[in-house]
């Protein structure tokens, strides 16, 4: 295996002695230990999901199944898994669209205007990071009932989007601050309108921040259990997390089927991960890079 040459014009021989390139046995050992911590549960989950239910009682999850079977997956797939997946995808897509449509212009204004109001708005979102969703479910429940949205996908989408906004605004303002003032001025001299600047300058240059926000907002929608648990009730608007949660009572002691459903729930995002690994990982890394 060859190490890819690192970018940068001033790569000279003495830099090979840089600390990060020397072997670090202690850190290496630590990373291997954490590797085991990550791998063992994943292995146990996949192995158990292939175990016959009759074999499950008194079975140690670390032992591979003696007669591997796909029956558990069959059970889960015949329990409306496709419907759950479809609803979750709809919720995630809607949340991403709402968050981008609201947060991109908002961050643009927050970065470009130096008024008391834009400062106050920015602080509002900064504080918003600290509002736990749990703290507002009771009033939201009241509002959603009064708005006649109870037991609909919108009841999940709207609050999820609102709670994804603070971090999205922080990420986007961070990215937009990096766009050089000269570029705005040049476009301004050309007589470009604000809308044109937004679409032809800000959005193309803020691609990194925008893709981070897409990933972040989609994950919020993908992960949430609280809003679906409290704002929906029937099968119609049920999403994946709530479906999984309900499997516990449905399948009871059928742990292999339960784990098969957990594995299946990870498959879609695993596919996304394979396709868009760079955007996913790079984007999330940006959260702390600023």
């Amino acid at each position: 295996m060859k190490t890819a040459p690192a970018p940068g014009p001033d790569r000279t021989a003495p830099r090979r002695r840089h600390w990060s390139r020397r072997a670090n046995p202690l850190a290496g050992a630590g990373s291997v230990i954490w590797l085991a911590v990550v791998i063992v549960p994943v292995y146990a989950m996949i192995s158990a999901s292939l175990t016959h239910q009759s074999e499950a009682l008194g079975h140690n999850a670390l032992k591979p199944p003696s007669h591997p079977t796909l029956d558990n997956y069959d059970t889960v797939l015949h329990n409306g898994f496709g419907h759950l997946l479809w609803n979750t995808a709809l919720v995630a897509a809607a949340v991403v669209v709402i968050v981008l449509a609201l947060c991109v212009p908002l961050s643009y204004v927050a970065v470009r205007t130096r008024s008391v109001w834009s400062g106050a708005a920015f602080r509002l979102f900064l504080l918003g990071v600290a509002i736990p969703a749990q703290a507002v479910v009771v009033p939201l429940y009241l509002m959603i009932t009064k708005l006649n949205l109870y037991d609909s996908l919108l009841a999940i989408i709207l609050p999820t989007a609102a709670f994804a906004m603070p971090v999205s605004v922080l990420i986007l303002t961070g990215t937009l601050r990096d766009i050089s003032e000269d570029l705005y001025e040049a476009m301004g001299l050309d007589g470009a309108s604000t809308t044109r600047m937004l679409f032809q300058l800000v959005i193309p240059l803020a691609k990194g921040g925008i893709s981070t926000v897409v990933v972040y907002a989609a994950l919020q929608a993908w992960n949430g259990l609280l809003f679906p648990l409290i704002f929906t009730q029937s099968d119609g608007p049920r999403v994946l997390t709530l479906g999984l949660f309900n499997y516990v009572s449905e399948f009871g002691v059928n742990i292999p089927a339960l784990l098969a459903s957990v594995v299946l729930s990870g498959v879609p995002i695993f596919v996304v991960y394979l396709v868009a690994r760079r955007a996913l990982v790079g984007g999330l890394m940006g959260v702390g890079g600023k």
């Binding site: 002695r17 840089h18 600390w19 990060s20 630590g30 990373s31 954490w34 990550v38 063992v40 994943v42 146990a44 989950m45 499950a56 008194g58 079975h59 140690n60 999850a61 449509a101 212009p105 908002l106 927050a110 708005a121 602080r123 509002l124 979102f125 504080l127 918003g128 990071v129 600290a130 509002i131 736990p132 703290a135 507002v136 479910v137 009771v138 009033p139 429940y141 609050p159 609102a162 906004m165 603070p166 303002t173 259990l225 609280l226 997390t241 949660f245 499997y247 516990v248 784990l259 957990v262 729930s265 990870g266 695993f270 690994r277 990982v281 999330l284 890394m285 959260v287 702390g288 890079g289």
Partner: protein, 273 residues
């Protein structure tokens, strides 16, 4: 142009927070309209032993999780920012927990900790310390990959010249870590820390699925206490008082962290160079 976003956020996040405060002075069982009852809920809350216990568990869980996750993700992140050959492969594997939702992860460990089936054939979740440590571990298992990425991103931005200069001065690896890496990661640590603290205040899914607040009420963190009071006992006024308490605690905590670190000013990490 900023107005739609602000209005939407105020309507679905800030407004409800204010409404929660109002509802804490009412009695409401979920049907009909809330009825004002003055300070009754707050009086009941402040005299409730469950609040003291819940607050203690919440704080303990937050602190222990913060230490556990920070130490591991800081070390892994700094390590992963280097250029070892096996780094890319390992980083990809470290990322696996991220592909599962909190619900899926909690269910996975619910199964793996089952005394009749799982890895450990003991009633881990049936003991107070076992249940507590299980929640800390599961939270870490889920969120350490994310915080590792944050630290990896932060560590990558540290200018190499600093290390070169230190190496010329004869500083060893440990000295470089403590004198360059750690101070340079100050803002990263704050970002990650705020997210961790707010995150662990809301370990709701994990508690709901793994322990249901048990054994007894030993792992009933504040959000779970709120959920139980509201959506199990239909005492929404009391649940709102718990929720308001949670908002006050979370806001105070993050204001404190923002103040202490200067995160709010969005100052550059390069400061003083």
């Amino acid at each position: 142009m900023a107005l739609p976003g602000i209005l939407f956020f105020v309507f679905f996040a800030v407004g409800p927070m204010v409404l929660a405060f109002y509802l804490s002075f009412t009695q409401w069982n979920g049907l009909g309209d809330p009825r004002p009852v003055g300070l009754a809920n707050w009086r009941k809350l402040l005299n409730d032993d469950r609040l003291t216990q819940s607050l203690t568990v919440t704080v303990a869980l937050t602190v222990v999780s913060w230490v556990f996750q920070t130490v591991i993700s800081l070390l892994l992140g700094v390590w992963a920012a280097g250029r070892q050959r096996n780094r890319a492969v390992l980083s990809a594997i470290f990322f696996t927990p991220f592909l599962l939702s909190s619900t899926a992860i909690s269910l996975l460990f619910y199964a793996l900790l089952d005394p009749n089936f799982g890895i450990i054939h003991a009633d881990t979740l049936g003991t107070t310390s076992g249940a507590f440590l299980a929640i800390v571990f599961v939270g870490g298992w889920q969120f350490i990959p994310f915080h590792t990425l944050i630290y990896q991103g932060g560590a990558r931005q540290i200018p190499e010249v600093l290390y070169q200069a230190a190496a010329i001065d004869g500083a060893g690896r440990l000295r470089q870590f403590f004198s360059i890496t750690l101070p340079q990661l100050r803002n990263t640590a704050t970002t990650s820390g705020v997210l961790m603290v707010v995150g662990s205040l809301t370990y709701f899914e994990t508690v709901l699925i793994l322990t249901q607040g048990g054994p007894g009420t030993d792992t009933a963190i504040l959000p779970y206490l709120m959920y139980q009071a509201g959506f199990k006992s239909y005492d929404f006024g009391y649940a709102s008082a718990v929720a308001s308490f949670l908002v006050i605690a979370a806001t105070a905590l993050s204001l404190l962290m923002v103040r202490l670190s200067g995160f709010g000013a969005m100052r550059s990490t390069r400061e003083g160079m």
